[in-house]
């Protein structure tokens, strides 16, 4: 389990706190890294920039990616990840406040593994996040390493 981590890309600090609370309460919060914009996400994943030579596994088990991000949007980050051989198969879940049809469609087109809308109601939100964490860290089998 310790081997596996989750990368949360979220610029909203309150959403981050609530997400982390939900994951903690579901007991999957042991290894969660958080970055706050698209560029940071890419640097983290490719171990570039400020994340060059970071410790821990090369890639997380799943990336929880918001769409509305500063600098690079979530969809752009997804596009870059899918264009790079190292991250082409990395599981990415779009976790967003938007329920726009267009965002959903674009996410899948760009190779998102899942699209999840953050419920406004906190109870629903906490539940959803807990299920996500359990599923991607426990249930889902990651693609084999090269």
């Amino acid at each position: 389990m310790s081997e596996k981590s989750i990368l949360l890309v979220e610029d909203n600090h309150q959403d981050e706190m609530l997400t982390l609370r939900a994951l903690r309460r579901a007991h999957v919060a042991n290894c969660i890294d958080v970055v706050r914009d698209g560029q940071q996400a890419l640097d983290y994943l490719f171990k570039a920039g400020e994340f060059a030579g970071r410790a821990g596994p090369d890639l997380p088990a799943v990336v929880l990616l918001d769409i509305g991000l500063p600098r690079l949007s979530g969809l752009e980050v997804l596009e870059r990840l899918r264009a790079d051989e190292r991250t082409r198969l990395l599981p990415v879940v779009i976790l967003t406040s938007s329920d726009e049809k267009r965002d959903c469609l674009e996410s899948y087109k760009n190779g998102a593994n899942s699209f999840v809308r953050k419920p406004v109601d906190f109870v629903d939100f906490a539940e959803t996040v807990a299920r996500l964490g359990l599923y991607w860290l426990v249930t889902n089998e990651a693609p084999p390493d090269r």
Binding site: D15, M17, D99, F125
Partner: protein
């Protein structure tokens, strides 16, 4: 025909009768003179030619001298009364001498005249009375003297006595001469009387001949000298008989006397000779007569011809004179000096100029053309005619002149000249009336022609006018329908030719100071695609002046650049501007044969141009509109994009803080609920309520915004199913409520499924919500037909509302109920109305407080069959 009239004497038959009387007179005087000289000088041989021959007495010689003088002075060739008197005196003396001597013989008396001059001695041979002339001589002097006296008489005729008087003289002298020839003394000297000397006889012969020759037409001489065949015969035969016969007889006698010819044959020879002579004479006479007759016949013929010619000439002259005078045309004769030699009555009557004032051509010019300038012109014209006439050797060609008459009137005359040698006759034909008549006729004919042309034009117009108007109307209609320049030109191009009947048409655009020949339709190439400066071509002229240019002969018009037209077929054209003020184009019509474009053609062309100008304006307008639509569309899509990003922001960014509020209040309650007091929990609950309400507002706004953007889908929408499912959900959410629900089956429409679902959900939710306090709530979803349209209705018996506030129903965030009565955000009906409107439908509400409300809407039925609507 008078024989004595010289004019009547045929030519060539004049009496050629020998030498004139002067010769005879001279001979007579010479013989007498010689004899008298002999007496004077006593030369015997002068007195008597031979010895022993009788002498010519002195008296006789003197008488011959006088007779000769008389003959010379009295013959008709002489003139002068003095000579005539001397001649008459001489003649009277001769006759008197003869008469006295004869009286002496007859009465045997002696008047002592015989030897008065020069006495003759007695014993002279053959002389009975010395110095006295022979009785025959005296007789002869008597006769010849008388004849000479009568010779001076005037008149003529066969009965003049002179020739008859000399006839015995001839006979006596002739016989005497024969006597001497044949030596027969009885012939020249009657017994016992003095004989006649031989030269006396000869002198008488000559004298008598002289007298006869002096008057060759008198008495019997007329027969001899006549130019007739008889005369000719006489002139031929008489010498033969009177001279040759005696000569033959003399030869015969001489021969016999000398014994040259035997006596037996001499008479025969004589007779033979006479026969030969007579035969020859007769023959000769016949020839002469024939010749004379031939001459005569010719002469007669010639004379006849001449006579006829002369008569004809005379008659012709008479006729000409009559004609000249009487001709009812003014005539005048002008000779080569320019003098008017004659003029006829009509000339005088017509012009009225007197003969004194009008003598020469110069007078004529001055009188007939009083205006000097006009006169100079007329003189030029006249000289031209003269030169032409001289050049062609023809009469003077007729020309028209306006001639001023004496009375001041001006008459139009056609003047021609007839050449007669060096003269000419001018003839004046009065065409004043004719000219006037011609002018009148011309005017009348013109008027008639005009009327005919008008009539024709009217007919043509009636025939073609309707066609052309129809063509024009069609063209205008099509012009109105086109939206771009190429289509417009394609419509106008052929219409110009059909309307005007031209052989070619061009469309010229004003292209920044150049005429651009944008399009053409013609029998031969014109200038399509070319550009010319506005100032240098006719289309430019039409555009700059804003008026039509109609040109019948383009090569006679300065506005036309001729070089540009030479390669083309164009002879005539009409160019009209398009747009009357500040034209932007022009339409040209061209003809291959010279043609004057009619007003009608030009008007039609102009009408077409006006239509085209409207067409151009339309194109402008349409293109403007299209541009504006594009602009609006662009603006709208910008707004749409802004709206979308706003909606996105609302849906994404507003939810996060809301989630944070509700999330942290929830977390506070869960994590620290045990430490909170009752009042703190109430506050936390209020935060949760506000968060939920905020969430609903956000949801409503998102729905509203989505209802006005995005493509409308064409889906099959089943209202019945939608309503039932929603009512089921509501009933499940509030199981405690008892609501009578009635949903009509088969309410199926075409439209955007997601939007129409929102409509049905909103209406049903409202009905559910507002029947919440009703005792026996009922909700009914059904369709009904009103005003021929199908209305879909959701009716309830809930709280209803006052229709006075109905206007606020469809305003966003406006509510008719308090939150504590019926919570809501006031966005549902606004969304419903927008969706219905976007579908092209209509929505109405009917309600009363506590009596419920009914919302009905329509949707366009296109694409929906009745079967689908009414199962």
């Amino acid at each position: 025909m008078t024989p004595d009239s010289p004019a009547a004497t045929p030519p060539g038959v004049t009496g050629a009768v020998g030498p004139g009387p002067a010769v005879f007179a001279a001979a007579t005087v010479a013989i007498g003179g010689l004899a008298f000289l002999g007496w004077w000088l006593d030369i015997t041989s002068f007195k008597s030619l031979f010895s022993d021959a009788v002498s010519m007495k002195a008296n006789t010689a003197l008488a011959f001298i006088l007779a000769g003088i008389a003959l010379w002075l009295l013959h008709p060739g002489r003139v002068g009364t003095a000579a005539r008197r001397v001649g008459l005196a001489c003649a009277a003396a001769v006759a008197g001498l003869g008469l006295l001597t004869l009286t002496e013989y007859l009465l045997g008396v002696d008047f002592a005249i015989d030897n008065r001059l020069i006495p003759e001695p007695p014993g002279a041979p053959l002389t009975s009375h010395p110095g006295r002339m022979a009785p025959g001589t005296a007789m002869n002097f008597c006769l010849t003297g008388l004849a000479l006296l009568l010779l001076g008489r005037n008149g003529s005729g066969r009965w003049q006595p002179a020739p008859y008087l000399v006839l015995p003289t001839f006979g006596i002298a002739f016989v005497a001469l024969l006597g001497y020839l044949y030596d027969l003394d009885a012939l020249y000297g009657p017994a016992h009387f003095t004989a006649m000397a031989v030269h006396t006889a000869a002198a008488f012969f000559i004298l008598a001949l002289g007298i006869l020759m002096a008057r060759p037409r008198w008495g019997w001489m007329a027969s001899i000298t006549a130019a007739t065949s008889g005369g000719a015969l006489l002139r031929c035969l008489l010498p033969a008989i009177l001279l040759l016969v005696p000569l033959l007889f003399y030869l015969w006698m001489t021969g016999e006397r000398l014994g040259l010819v035997p006596a037996r044959y001499s008479l025969f020879l004589m007779i033979l000779a006479i026969m030969a002579l007579l035969t020859a004479a007769a023959w000769w006479g016949a020839i002469v007569v024939d010749r004379a007759e031939m001459n005569w016949l010719q002469a007669v013929a010639a004379y006849g011809q001449l006579n006829t010619t002369m008569q004809e000439k005379a008659a012709s002259e008479a006729r000409f004179a009559g004609l000249f005078q009487e001709t009812p045309v003014p005539l005048c004769c002008v000779d080569k000096r320019g003098v008017l030699t004659d003029r006829n009555l009509r000339f005088d009557q017509t012009f009225g100029y007197g003969r004194d004032e009008l003598r020469t051509l110069d007078d004529w010019w001055r009188l007939a053309y009083p205006d000097p300038a006009r006169r100079a012109q007329v003189l030029d014209s006249w000289n031209e005619v003269l030169a032409e006439s001289a050049h062609r050797s023809a009469d003077l060609a007729p020309r028209e002149y306006d001639i001023t008459c004496k009375d001041g009137g001006v008459r139009t005359m056609l003047v021609s000249g007839i050449l007669l040698g060096d003269d000419f006759i001018a003839a004046f034909f009065d065409i004043t009336e004719r000219s006037k008549a011609t002018r009148d006729l011309k005017e009348a004919r013109l008027a008639a022609l005009n009327r005919m042309e008008d009539a024709n034009a009217a007919r043509r117009q009636a025939e073609t006018g309707a066609d052309r108007i129809r063509l024009l109307a069609e063209a205008v209609e099509r012009i109105a329908a086109v939206h771009d320049l190429p289509s417009l030109m394609a419509v106008v191009r052929p219409a110009v030719r059909r309307l005007t009947g031209a052989d070619g048409a061009t469309l010229v655009l004003n292209d920044n100071g150049y005429c651009f020949y944008a399009d053409e339709d013609a029998i031969g190439p014109l200038w399509k695609g070319q550009r010319f400066p506005l100032e240098s071509c006719i289309s430019g002229w039409a555009m700059l002046h804003g008026q039509a240019a109609v040109i019948e002969d383009i090569y006679a018009d300065e506005r036309i650049p001729h070089e540009a037209y030479r390669p083309t077929f164009v002879k005539s054209l009409a160019m009209v501007p398009i747009g009357r003020s500040g034209p932007v184009a022009a339409i040209g019509a061209y003809w291959a044969t010279r043609h004057k474009p009619t007003d009608e053609e030009v008007e039609l062309q102009q009408a077409l141009a006006d239509a085209m100008s409207i067409g151009l304006a339309n194109i402008d307008l349409i293109q403007n509109l299209e541009r504006r639509v594009e602009q609006r569309t662009a603006e709208l899509s910008t707004v749409n994009r802004e709206l979308e990003s706003f909606a996105y922001a609302v849906s994404h960014d507003l939810r996060a803080p809301l989630r944070a509020m509700s999330g942290f209040s929830q977390a506070l309650q869960e994590d620290f609920g045990a430490q909170l007091t009752g009042e703190a929990r109430v506050y936390l609950e209020q935060i949760g309520i506000a968060s939920r309400r905020m969430g609903e507002l956000i949801e409503g706004l998102l729905t509203l915004s989505r209802s006005t953007r995005g493509e409308l889908q064409r889906d099959r929408v089943d209202f019945s199913a939608l309503a039932e499912r929603r009512l089921d959900e509501l009933a499940a959410a509030e199981p405690g409520r008892r609501v009578a629900v009635s949903v009509e089956d088969g309410l199926v429409v075409q439209g955007d499924a997601r939007m129409l679902a929102a409509v049905m959900t909103n209406l049903v939710d409202n009905a559910w919500k507002y029947t919440g306090k009703a005792a026996a709530a009922s909700i009914r979803v059904h369709a009904e037909i009103r005003d021929g349209r199908r209305w879909y209705c959701v009716a309830d018996n809930g709280a209803g509302f006052d229709m006075a506030h109905a206007a606020r129903l469809f305003q966003p965030f406006q509510r008719l109920h308090r939150q504590d009565e019926f919570p809501g955000i006031g966005i549902g009906l606004v969304t419903v109305q927008r969706i219905i409107h976007r579908h092209g439908g209509e929505i109405v509400a009917a309600a009363a407080p506590d009596q419920g409300a009914t919302f009905c809407f329509t949707l366009p039925e296109d694409g929906l069959s009745d079967k689908e609507i009414l199962p």
